[in-house]
Symmetry: D2
Subunit: 345 residues, 4 copies
């Protein structure tokens, strides 16, 4: 299959290139970048020498559409909502790594993203690509809205008890910790080494745009209309997200029993690994891989469940899950080209 990558010069795009290197069914025909068009990809990313010998191209819808069957969009917020409809109309399958098509409700989008959304036509038909949870719907999708990095980690940690209706959804508090690459390859003082190193920062508390995305899935599963608390922190590392999630259990249950529930819920899911009691996952244990590792404990003194879930924000939180969705759409083994060992140490 011929594919293309729009926004190929960002961290999400370059991660797609890394992970697709040995994909047996895919040929990368086009890499597109507005800001660096005309350059060789190895000029911008010397680590790709001897691997990719391609030039970044300008966005030219007809030219691209006639060369590819499927497009990944690893573009900044607000770009894909303008361009994707044009490709969908030409029958190109689109997988959008940005947040443009994740919220079904246009009003919610405009409130949290602080920009307007003209092309609401596709908001309903877009399938939310949380692979393990919506695996049934994904194969028929023409447009995948690939989940955000935080929502992927948080939701995979919550799904089993949400489905089992063992927690009060309104009690959910998600404390997110992220590496810096999540902010993309942008010029900003907030990304500068001397400002980030030896530093933990809280940001966007009570106003992060991933909040409604997480709630939308919680609501769909719980059938309720919930409000959660979601906070985000920048920690001094390049890759990795950890969500520590707190929620009130509605019944008495042991840690062991919940670990069994998690194991059986994810029994068929290669990429989800549940730690035994008393062992906690660390972000480095999934570094560079598509795994999501989960540990949990019942805090018996408060009857709260505490869940720790970790992913590599650029893989399971972006490019890896996008490829997993492409695999599902095409009926290939979802693990194709994604079975790699995390880099450790």
């Amino acid at each position: 299959m011929n594919i293309g990558i729009v926004g190929a010069n960002g961290y999400g795009g370059v991660e797609l290139l890394r992970l697709l290197q040995h994909h047996p069914f895919v040929k990368i025909k086009k890499i597109v970048s507005h800001s660096t068009q005309g350059n060789s990809i190895t000029h911008i990313y010397p680590h790709l020498n001897n691997v990719y010998d391609m030039n970044l191209e300008a966005m030219n819808v007809p030219e691209i559409a006639s060369n590819v069957d499927l497009l990944f969009f690893a573009t900044p917020s607000g770009v894909s909502k303008e361009v994707i409809p044009q490709f969908l109309e030409q029958g190109i399958t689109c997988i959008d790594l940005s947040g443009d098509f994740r919220l079904k409700n246009k009003g919610e989008y405009e409130k949290w993203y602080k920009q307007t959304h003209g092309t609401t036509a596709y908001l309903q038909s877009a399938v939310y690509g949380l692979s393990e949870v919506f695996r049934e719907k994904i194969p028929e999708a023409k447009l995948i809205s690939n989940p955000g990095c935080y929502p992927t980690a948080a939701l995979l940690g919550l799904i089993p008890v949400l489905k089992a209706k063992m927690i009060d959804p309104n009690s959910i508090i998600i404390d997110g910790k992220s590496g810096v690459s999540g902010a993309g390859r942008n010029l900003s003082l907030g990304n500068a080494y001397a400002e980030i190193n030896e530093n933990v920062k809280a940001y966007k508390l009570a106003e992060h745009q991933h909040t409604p995305e997480i709630e939308q899935v919680i609501n769909e599963i719980s059938g309720e209309n919930t409000n959660i608390s979601f906070t985000t922190h920048l920690v001094p590392m390049t890759r990795g997200i950890m969500c520590t999630t707190y929620c009130q259990l509605t019944e008495k249950v042991t840690t062991e029993k919940l670990i069994d529930l998690y194991k059986s819920t994810y029994e068929q899911d290669y990429f989800i690994r549940i730690r035994p009691k008393g062992v906690w996952p660390a972000t480095k244990e999934v570094y560079g891989s598509n795994f999501c590792d989960i540990g949990l404990v019942v805090d018996e003194r408060t009857n709260r469940l505490i869940i720790v879930s970790v992913i590599d924000n650029l893989v399971k939180g972006a490019a890896g899950q996008a490829i997993q969705n492409m695999n599902l759409i095409n009926g290939w083994d979802e693990k194709t080209s994604l079975q790699t060992v995390p880099i450790y140490p």
Copy 2:
């Protein structure tokens, strides 16, 4: 005044040496270390060359007691409870940076610290040295139990709303993030660079020994018998602690109003700085200093208060607060030798 430092070769001890360099009323007469006795301090810490020219000595109670008026204990858990009583009996004021005398209830100590406590005599008379909160009691103390690093950050963030009875104490959830120096200068795989770097780890969830210490103060202020949730995470940096604290407000109140409350509560407290609305403190902004910086927001969708408080774990979370307490005991300005600008960047 003549003072001594027991455990001077650990990170807490060496931080006392740093901060006391220019203290106008103090002379360091003894530095004591079990493991490195007989060595020059500059042999172990070359950064102290030209500053301190002293040898580490063995613990010899009569010899030390006859040379000092006050002793700091920066010793590992379980040491000071054996030794401090001997010094108290000789009239030496003791400031204990370890957790040995923090819990009033011996049973709680033994449950959370997993060791017995023989010398309960002094548990009741020990004064908990959270300087800003117990400033009245500290001057009369002969034994100060200096607060843990996490409890200092968490409690300073909670005190104003606890005193104002605006939150439900049982709803408190504290998500702690710490740099690695908090674990001390020990040999452990868990402290190794290659295991910590590019990594966030959760540890001791629902079983950290600082939990009852925090609850003890909450209970004292609220008059209730509470259970909180407290979790801890290791982040890849040397210094700094951030506590992100969640609690349910018992009334409707704006962020602005709470910021005013915090500012007035800490009006007289040089070391506590409240951020304006929408601005969050970062650990680097207190690096190397005795400041505790606090930001907060009311999450209106859930009526939860979210508080972010940061300290340098080795300063306000250990050596700095210990010196602040020594200053208060002696009637000196509490800022003496502690008025330094955080190192930034």
Copy 3:
């Protein structure tokens, strides 16, 4: 082919496991560890869950010899020289990642490694596995002494001008900078996060045991008996080695001309990449991969050549090159299972 890994619980061993995951011709039959025998490898390295389901075994020569055709030794200094002869006698091919068999001269070994070497029998027959340079000899080897991390980076940077006899070998100065994983997974204050972070340290100046290893190859190629200067520095990162090498040119030559020489010398070598003039390689550009990237400039004011070469110390500097050598021994494409894109960022 059936293989085994001795020292599988160290960083070199676990990197062999990572890189061999998809090797099409190899089956890992035995993983051996003295210190952690009896444990599941996933108990020690949770990142290997769902990938390897094996137990670490004790060293039992007959049992292992009857199960494998080839053994990798990723053992601490001094171990393999005792054990490898026993396997060689049973016809097992051995690839030694330690320094035990690298020096032809027993006296040199004992001088620099500060231990005796009883089994000199195999010192002469061992083939030094710098793959690109000794590719002709490697296929016939029964014992490969896999090069050290520093010598790999330094020598690949020097080979073209050494072969072309364009420099004075006695003028060579190699300034090495290494990440911390090179020290292995050992308990040592020198590896502790709080001691390494925000720190550059020089170590073993004028006495590093890789010095005679580098000189041995320089001498073999130049035909001279040389003394070089080699220094090493620890930088705060987990992976990566950079060698900055200085040498006096014996003729006038331009940077462009030398870049051409390097490109043609390494024309057939997939893993060696030469940067264009004015562009310098960075360690992150080879992270997790078997590449060695090289940049160079003629400092016209002094007629010195300055070469910068970078590798991932655990891949091209250890496990990756070992696999490359195994591939060469067996007549497989040397790139088999090693064609991966560096992790960036």
Copy 4:
């Protein structure tokens, strides 16, 4: 004395503010910034809350000149050469932390800095502020050109053997390693956390503008016209510079003897600390302080001297040495406000 800081919103400026906090003879009257004028300094640097309550002002020569006796310039390259002459003409003493007045030869400046220099009048009268070396000339200076960070570390490591004429100056090779703060608080991809972390980069090889600055001092001391090699590397840390310097000894001498030479050369210099044989300085051992620590060894096999010197680039390499020079100019103890213990760990 009333002083001002121009460029107060950069890292050099803010470090001046930190170090001057307790200076007993200085009052900061003006902080000037082109880019952030009108802002409170605590708005830009929240870590200064409760310490400095001042607004950044625009550059207004008459207004500033009438308020201060001495000005520090912590401005980007090319700024101070336009402004300083105006202040000198009004009798204001100027200490320039930028490179604008360091080279006596205008042609050299224009060649290495790649910009023209109109105001050559003051190039000759500017005194190069390497405090320990030019302590005699500094008190009379009206314009101090404060040394670059690399030249400070490199030259302090070379001075004793240069003065003793024990090395061949043309053999000098300086391999510099720097933390990121040296690049200032600028927006640049090259400073971004995700590009710097876990990465060592070489840059500006054979073309760094500090080369002629180092040579100028070497020439002055040696009386020869020398060409050295100087290379620079960025390492993943915020603060700290290490120079590893190689030079050919012109006679046979032991390490011990040279250590004695260094100790006696710097006998009166509080800020210079010589390590004993076999012990190497690390950048963290001078973190946040004005110390320069030096270790050395004679590589007997090659008769080369290898010197390792470390400083904090923002202190002894910038703001600290600038204050030391101000102290010397005013006849105050040069240590005034600079006697601080390095932050360790």
